[in-house]
Symmetry: C2
Subunit: 194 residues, 2 copies
């Protein structure tokens, strides 16, 4: 998506260790006007799918997912990342490893909010190694829900997550796919998309 | 706000220990249509204020804040709850105590996204003892930003947070204020509002 790629070129910051900071418009400060354009693009790309629920994971996916849900006119469920005393005992739970935070945590969705009647679009801000997505896919499987597709804002195309998801035959729509970046020059190259 | 009170009466669940679960429409599954009506109501109540930024805290405030920001046509900043390696060193940081999770954590906002030019509306889903809000107020003070008001979905009127905020002269608009609730009968009483 040209608009997002241009924004990443302009405001994204490349750091050593293949870190791409987009915190001025995606995952700390959020540009809601941009999110609306992204939501419209996903609506176009998933127009054939009978989506009745958006699924995401806290925290930085929630803002995008809320705007996408508005566009699709369906509810959002966000997976929680650690057991809270306010959560029901009756949950779908799986474990994932976060490389960003260097630790394992549980991903939790209440059984009340995901079931075999659901046709889910999974939304998240970033896809790198795919650990968070694998956790969400496992939860949808436990629930017997159908995954109609996955929408990602920024995919790191040089990490394996995107390939692993596509090999499973899931429609994955990443609006910007970074092929390479250079923290010395600040250059960012995107994979060509239609 | 009548619409929200009715929804809480219908779908809220009262648990022992003054716990009110609204996870089917506010803080696990999110009803975006309801959030849009809440956003319009806050827009009405804060129509005189020169708001140029929404501030919230992860995770459950983010969805509401995104929809409110869309209504106000301004960006959102969400405070993070623990140091992440993707965050700049250059942050406003304060400590708050969460009674829900029974631990202390840091609240963090990058200095890049909050400053003396900002007129902030703080948005959150719940107000009880007010610890999270006090943390956000401290951060806005560090940043030299003006707090134009606070919008809360559900206030527990029998806890002290609301009183403490109002005593500071801040315009606090809670769309539903629970005066009392009974986990045996499931009854919920709201404070009368204009």
């Amino acid at each position: 998506m040209r608009l997002l790629e241009e924004r990443i070129q302009r405001d994204g910051i490349v750091r050593a260790g293949n870190v791409l900071k987009v915190d001025s418009f995606i995952n700390h400060q959020m540009d809601i006007g941009l999110f609306e354009e992204m939501a419209k693009e996903w609506k176009r790309r998933f127009s054939e799918k009978p989506i009745n629920k958006i699924l995401t994971i806290e925290a930085s996916g929630i803002g995008i997912a809320a705007i996408v849900a508005r566009e699709f006119q369906v509810p959002v469920v966000f997976a929680k990342k650690s057991q809270s005393i306010n959560l029901d005992a009756d949950n779908f739970v799986t474990k994932i490893r976060s490389f960003t935070h260097g630790r394992e945590y549980e991903v939790i969705v209440s059984r009340k909010f995901l079931g075999s009647e659901d046709h889910v679009l999974i939304i998240d801000d970033f896809l790198a190694n795919g650990c968070a997505l694998m956790g969400l896919l496992e939860i949808t499987q436990m629930a017997g829900a159908a995954v109609e597709g996955i929408g990602i804002a920024v995919e790191k195309g040089f990490q394996e997550g995107g390939r692993l998801i596509r090999e499973r035959g899931i429609q994955l729509e990443s609006l910007a796919i970074v092929e390479s970046m250079d923290d010395e020059t600040g250059e960012i190259h995107f994979r060509a998309q239609e």
